[in-house]
């Protein structure tokens, strides 16, 4: 009882800033409300029916999943590798550790603009680097080609977000007791086995947390894509969040925008719950 009483202020705030808007969105999703003007009439599940029938929605779902899976995978691998490197003792390690924070500390919009310059088809650094080293015959358009646009976005996103994974991993690495590592070396374990059997158990939990955070964020991605391609070319990088924005704000269909937003929320919730149970199971195995 006392616990609930102490939590009351928090609960009140949460209910007013999350609970109420959520319920109102739920209500909106069953109406044909417009953004400005009419409150809209009840239309039942019409919005949802139309969404599931639309190819734009299915395509956006695929694009979003692709973006989330690939970018998070790249971030995890890169993050762990960089953490292992920065865990080594060498001169200048602290400088590099400080530099590591930089991409993550950049506002997303700044990062997006920066990568747009790098990808520029005429004077972009990427084109210059690839052509001058002979890897590429001629300058090409990275964001204007549907075959490379999504990949280019994923690289930009991974560059910005891998430091988070690296930082979390680095902290976890420092928690590995030295005597266990020393014992493993004495027992003749090679670098790979040491990573697999000594370090990985300590990394797994924190990495799970990073995985959950990053997947949820990546699934909701909006800003970096909005700045870099606005969903183009030919909607090949239009994610669910961009579709929500377009429906609700550009086209003013608040009702169908709300139903779309709820579907995104549902998908993210399913992911979060699945991860949470995975984490619990992983934790249960270790202790």
């Amino acid at each position: 009882m006392r616990a609930w009483l102490l939590m009351l202020p928090l609960l009140a705030v949460m209910l007013s800033v999350i609970g109420w808007p959520f319920l109102d969105t739920l209500r909106l999703s069953f109406t044909d409300a417009r953004l400005v003007g009419t409150g809209g009439d009840f239309v039942g599940v019409e919005n949802y029916r139309r969404l599931f029938a639309s190819s734009a929605f299915r395509r956006a779902f695929v694009v979003t999943t692709e973006f989330a899976v690939v970018s998070v995978f790249v971030e995890m691998v890169l993050g762990v590798l960089v953490a292992l490197l920065l865990y080594q003792n060498f001169r200048g390690r602290n400088v590099l550790r400080a530099l590591l924070i930089l991409p993550w500390a950049l506002p997303t919009v700044v990062n997006a603009l920066l990568w747009r310059l790098i990808y520029n088809p005429e004077y972009g650094a990427l084109n210059a680097a690839l052509v001058q080293t002979g890897l590429l015959g001629a300058y090409r358009s990275w964001l204007g080609d549907p075959n490379s646009a999504l990949a280019a976005l994923i690289v930009a996103d991974a560059w910005k977000n891998f430091p988070l994974v690296a930082l979390i991993s680095l902290a976890a690495l420092h928690a590995v007791p030295n005597d266990i590592k020393a014992a493993a070396i004495v027992d003749g374990a090679g670098a790979l086995s040491r990573f697999r059997y000594v370090i990985m158990p300590y990394l797994a939990g924190p990495l799970m947390v990073a995985l959950v955070l990053r997947t949820i964020e990546a699934f909701k991605v909006f800003d970096i894509i909005w700045v870099m391609t606005r969903g183009g070319p030919a909607n090949s990088t239009r994610t669910l969040s961009i579709l929500v924005y377009q429906e609700a704000f550009s086209f003013q269909r608040a009702g169908s925008g709300a139903s779309l937003a709820l579907i995104v929320t549902l998908a993210v919730t399913v992911l979060a719950v699945a991860y949470a149970s995975l984490i619990r199971r992983a934790a249960g195995e270790r202790f």
């Binding site: 953004l35 929605f57 358009s141 606005r230 183009g232 704000f249 086209f251």
Partner: protein, 409 residues
């Protein structure tokens, strides 16, 4: 103990009187940071207004064109918004339906009615009512690099789109430029403006009898022209990710012989501080199609209106009247041409940009409208997708346009 109350009352009174009732009004105005008047121009115009009207303060906000529509609506939805907003010619229908702008038909003075070009009024009209004053009178012109044309032995800029293709081919064949033409075909409204220009040249129509008609005849010819030009390599392939400022950059660097862009590019591309091709920039109305049109043009004008949520509609109106006045517009006629008929004979406006004024006289008269429908945003988005799919070879122009006509999401 003496009573201090009278003293306090006197003190309060004196402070109240010392500050005469400064009923300062603050207007919030939303503009765009793209094409037409520069941000510096808008600030200077506004400073002139506040100098003449010290009781009014104007807060200016600039957003990219791509955010202007959504920001206006969102601010309105949240109830605390702008007093004055810039709006594009394609929005009055939707804004009127959603009660975004105040009907100002009765505020318009006889001098305005007579002085402003008839074509400019279409920018702010819907269903017989006027929702603001036109401010930016603009269309897309064909810009060309005189030097490159001369080197290719071309005597005069193209009068038809077919001729444009031939001239570009000649320039390419001579090895002067790999991709002589540049456009703004990014997945954005800019692509629709280029497309509309071509639709007007090919005698097409967007909507006939309330139904989409762009998927046939002139509308189809227009997209086919774009795709052919793209596939032949005469068009800069990066056009499909360009907006107007990218077009200007490419043209200014001398990397294009032809470019379709708004008025503002003329004086910027002729400015040696900005441009490598200063002094070599020619401008003509966008070409026509033999047997169908002599020139082509899209109505790309924009107006200033008062929002329905504004608490100060009178001050907002006087601000708009000042910004659109002939005096203000004549003083800033380098990046955007005035809405006033009389300005086009005023040496202060025409001097140094005679070529642009000549192109404007024909071009502005030929301005073709994008459809005035409350569902314009969706139609435009569907068309943008169709254009990009056709350019990328994902669908034929006919299939892409048919899909767009069938409806988006």
């Amino acid at each position: 103990m003496p009573d201090k109350k009278p003293f306090l009352v006197a003190l309060l009174l004196s402070t109240a009187l010392a500050h005469p009732a400064v009923a300062e009004t603050t207007l919030n105005a939303l503009f765009m940071a793209q094409a037409a008047y520069s941000e510096a121009d808008v600030r200077a115009m506004t400073d002139a207004f506040t100098a003449a009207n010290p009781e009014v303060k104007v807060n200016l906000e600039f957003v990219p064109y791509e955010g202007l529509h959504d920001k206006t609506l969102l601010a309105l939805g949240s109830g605390s918004g702008y007093d004055v907003v810039l709006f594009d010619v394609i929005w009055p229908a939707e804004y009127a339906q959603n009660n975004v702008l105040v009907d100002v038909t009765d505020r318009i003075t006889p001098e305005m009615k007579e002085g402003v070009l008839p074509g400019a009024w279409t920018t702010v009209e819907y269903d017989g009512k006027r929702y603001g004053l036109p401010w930016i009178l603009d269309t897309k012109y064909l810009f060309y690099n005189k030097d490159i044309l001369a080197q290719a032995g071309i005597a005069a800029p193209p009068a038809t789109w077919a001729e444009l293709t031939q001239q570009a081919q000649a320039i390419k064949d001579k090895g002067l430029l790999e991709h002589p033409i540049v456009w703004s075909w990014a997945q954005a409204e800019a692509a629709i403006c280029d497309y509309t220009t071509l639709v007007s040249a090919f005698g097409g129509a967007f909507i006939v009898d309330g139904k989409p008609a762009f998927q046939t005849d002139g509308g189809l010819d227009a997209l086919t022209y774009m795709v052919d030009s793209y596939n032949s390599g005469l068009t800069n392939p990066n056009s499909k990710e360009y907006l107007e400022e990218d077009v200007r950059r490419v043209f200014q660097n001398g990397e294009a012989a032809f470019a379709l862009n708004w008025t503002y590019m003329y004086n910027l591309a002729n400015d040696p501080k900005e441009s490598k091709v200063a002094g070599k920039v020619g401008v003509v109305p966008a070409p026509g199609v033999e047997g169908k049109s002599t020139v082509s043009a899209v109505n790309g004008s924009m107006g200033l209106g008062i929002t329905t949520t504004s608490q100060h509609p009178d001050e907002a109106w006087s601000y708009i009247a000042f910004m659109t006045s002939q005096q203000t517009q004549n003083a800033y006629a380098r990046l955007s041409l005035p809405i006033w008929a009389g300005s086009y004979n005023d040496p202060a406006v025409t001097e140094g940009q005679e070529e642009l004024i000549a192109a404007a006289k024909t071009g502005l008269a030929a301005m073709y409208p994008r459809p005035t429908t409350p569902g314009y945003q969706e139609m435009s988005a569907a068309l943008q997708q169709a254009i990009q799919e056709a350019l990328l070879g994902q669908a034929s122009p006919a299939d892409a346009l048919a899909a767009a006509a069938g409806g988006g999401l």
